[in-house]
Amino acid sequence: MNDDRRPDPDQLLNRIKEDEALAQRGKLKIFFGASAGVGKTYAMLLAARQLHEQGVEIVVGIVETHGRAETAVLLKGLEILPLKEVPYRNRMLREFDLDGALARRPALILVDELAHSNAPGCRHPKRWQDVEELLDAGIDVLTTINVQHLESLNDVVGGITGIRVWETVADRVFDQADEVVLVDLPPDELLQRLKEGKIYLPDQAERAIEHFFRKGNLIALRELALRRTADRVDDQMQSYQRQAGGVPSLREALLVCVGPGFGNDALVRAASRLASKLDCEWHALYVETPALQRLPDARRQAILTTLKLAQDFGAHTATLGAASIAPAIVEYARKHGLIRLVVGRSRHRRWRWFQPRSCVEQLARLAPELDLLALARDESPQRTLNSAAEVKDEARWVQSSLGQSYGATLLICLGTALAATPLSPYLDQANIVMLFLLAVVGVAVRYGRGPAVLAAVVNVALFNFLFVSPYFAFALHDLQSILTFIVMLIVGLVVGQLTARFRYQAQIARAREERARYLYEMSRELSGALVAEQVIEISERCMEASFPVKAQLLLPDDHDRLQAPPVRPGAGKPKVDLAIAQWCFDRHTPAGLGTDTLPAASLLYLPLKAPMRTRGVLAVAPEQRRLLLIPEQRRLLDTFAALMAIALERVHFAIVARDTLVKMEAERQRNSLLAALSHDLRTPITALIGLAETLALELTAEQSPHHESLNAIHQQAVRMALLADNLLDMARLQVGGVRLRKDWQSLEELVGSATRMLEQPLRNHPLRLALDPYLPLIHCDAVLIERVLVNLLENAAKYTPPDTVIGVTAFIDADRLNVEVWDEGPGLPTGREQRLFEKFTRGHAESAAPGIGLGLAICRAIIEAHGGQIQAANRAVGGASFTFTLPLETPPPLETEEIPESS
């Protein structure tokens, strides 16, 4: 009835998958406070002590007590992990020991100050990344953080307090934490504590501290912290309601447009806050037009960094190449179903009256259905550390392009004038103007707009100077030459503009075509590869042809350890750090250059993820670092990596299929050989037994004296048959790779048929069966397990005097079935119980007593093939005991029969 409220099965499935992934991950609990001194560390330690008393295994990874006694007291009795010493500029920095923690593997670990930045040389630049790794390893973590360290609130707090902190934590970490505990302290009490000197503050200027701990600031920070916590609780509430069958969330996706100006980082932060408030996914887009492409490198770098920031916040990022910005944005928004656009708005009014309509207006006109949010943008260029380099870079760029193209323009203009001079007597003045115009068009086509303007000016001047009377003098008084100048200028500008646009489009098309070709070529070559070595060779060659990089493919051995690549002479391969590569392989996460993990490494390590598993690692050494920051290039690299992974997987399965075929053929041959042997051995024995019996029948009737001999022949033939059986079985089991015909069996049934087969030998022994009536079905080869029972029971009957009790006991112990065959006989020779088996494992199967010799060896081989164990012992109450275990599996489901009313 409430069809529209029924949860979508896909959603449910996704949630189950997420839950499963979460269940294996450790739990993260964050103690969250408005500022230093509210007592986060104290609260964390209190919680830890409580858990410790409940018996949870707790290790203190790193806790800063800042010399406060009340906090230090809480540390007593907890296991403290030693810190790692990291050398840095002649000093030893003490840092949290991630590897130590992973090796120690406690159930729960305390890691204070989530926002801390690690010393250079540690695995991750940030401590929160260490914590992520701990969580991935299934270790629960308690940690602390202040509101000002949250990435998205960082600039807000900076705005309030005037102090900007550089150690930040991605909001994602905070949002995905399993629990957040707000540690709250009213501002007055906090100030009191400050006065009492109970708050530790890093060496900061007195004034800054005073500024920070103003009551107004503290109230504002408290509000931020409370509000952030409330947002989180609200999210939980909504997710709970959805789970409970409430309204599914509308996907109100958001698109933030990153422009070339300054202040984009703030824009991205604002969009991230908005997106998390709306609980929607968001995209960040940069449209590169021909004009923007000519920006100096440093500026483009800044834009890419902004996109990276957006990506870190959880945005999908894209860079589009297009002629104009607004249509490209609208197209992207419509294609991805994004209904809300966030754009930066300039604070200052444009002073240029001819400024075309602003981007915002264009967007509003092009797509009236989209919501536009224009956020004020702080456009004062933040002259940070990089600014000096940036300015230099910009100047150099301007110089070089100016130098070359403008020089050439002047040469062309002078050349035109020189060429026109001898022709002037023969040509009309209008046609000479045409020649100059041609030169302007030429310059515009070749060098673009700027040089075209120069050409127009110079040409008009030259024309005026050389071809208009008064000759060799400038006379700009008449309307004619002004008109000539204007026409030349306009033609130059228009042609220059058009050329630039076409050239840019062509460049984009060429780049795309090239990319597609590289991919096509590599996939074609890879499809022909038959062995992993070929895949490596082709991949590395194609990578190096397609990118300005050196590439190296690393494959794991059978134990999932990556192998150092063979040294190839003259290949000039980059030096690979196997430890990083192994980390990348184990965690299926990119590492090294341009990533969050060991970014100081000189290579980028990409996992080769195939559908079934990760197949290896691609190590890339780019010639320019910048390459890896461009999202398009990274995506292309990922595509290459995926292609390689699939090729490796295909090769792997081809080998597996071939091996299986070989194994099957070997098994088939072995079986037919054994079947033939069995037939050839049994047939004469059958004849022997049969003939002896028929003869015996006749001789008995005649009361012949040879009757005894005949009986002996019969008995020896029967014994030979048993021996042949044992030898054949042993051969079958010991050749290895015996294929078990496993099926679901009931132990009771197997014991029943084994005792029935041994009716004759067991007739003088009372049998005690103690089988648990609720034994589940076991997955085994019935014939072989019956064989084990028969051998053990037969031994018991053979080696105990008549009337000795023999028993079979079966019970479940954890995930194994235990079966004991025991007797009350004389027992096994003491001290030799285990040697009964040891002896046979060495392969000395040719024992003097054929019964026990081969029988137990066969039992052991059968049980071990089933993944179980068999042991012999003397019972405390006397007698021998043989116990074997079999692993239990979950039987397939059973459709229960509907039982009708009894009639």
Binding site: R682, T683, T686, D743, W744, S746, G752, L777, P891
Partner: protein
């Protein structure tokens, strides 16, 4: 051999080993049977067609073909009982032969007494033909096929429909080995032919209800790796 001796039975032995043929022939003739021999599949089929024997004793490993193929060819036109002799170590061959339509099997090496007992049982079953009896009585148990009741020492035993069908399927063919596949197809239906765990569970239930000691059954016997056999005595 009182059952057979009413009129002399004709028995065909298809076996390539001469020594075995000889002692089997001696044993059977001493019981008053007429015996004919064949040593290949081809010859055996021709003999079966011309002599119309009452029983075929068939070795599975013949020089010119598989015994299972012999049974399939034979079953295309005749329902004469077939007793299989197997020297193979794999249970699989026996199951294949039984599934193809063999009536019983003997594993080499076997004794004369065992052979004669099996021959007797198979001939008795085929001589009696499809049994129309509405009641099967064995030990203290009575199965009323018509009214679908089972009594144990005069007390009604409650069986579920499937349990009853399983019991009836086995009990109407006393002494005959029914393979897992045959039972699953007949009792549960063709879609269940591979779900042997059903059989184990229900057989366990039946033994709990009918056998004195379910771990050492008297009537519902297990042929490990092959199937089950109902043994009324």
């Amino acid at each position: 051999m009182n059952v057979i001796s009413e009129s002399p039975l004709t028995i065909l032995i298809v076996e390539d080993e001469q020594a075995i043929r000889r002692f089997v022939r001696t044993a059977l003739e001493s019981e008053g049977c007429r015996v004919c021999e064949a040593d290949t599949v081809q010859y055996g089929l021709r003999e079966a067609g011309t002599r119309k024997p009452d029983l075929v004793i068939l070795d599975l490993g013949l020089p010119d073909g598989d015994g299972v193929d012999f049974i399939r060819d034979l079953r295309a036109w005749s329902s004469m009982p077939v007793l299989v002799l197997s020297a193979r170590i794999e249970e699989y061959d026996k199951v294949a032969a039984l599934d193809a339509g063999a009536d019983d099997y003997l594993v080499k090496p076997f004794g004369v007494a065992e052979l004669l007992a099996r021959v007797r049982a198979v001939c008795r079953r085929s001589a009696r033909g499809p049994d129309g009896a509405a009641q099967i009585i064995f030990g203290e148990l009575t199965i009323d096929l018509e009214n679908r009741w089972v009594f144990r020492a005069e007390q009604p035993v409650h069986l579920t429909p499937i349990e009853f069908r399983l019991l009836a399927t086995l009990a109407t063919r006393p002494g005959k080995v029914l393979t897992h596949r045959q039972l699953l197809r007949e009792v549960w239906g063709p879609a269940y032919a591979e779900r042997s765990h059903y059989l184990r569970i229900y057989m366990g239930h039946l033994r709990q209800k009918l056998e004195a000691d379910p771990a050492r059954p008297q009537y519902l016997l297990t042929e490990t790796g092959v199937g089950y056999r109902f043994c009324p005595s």
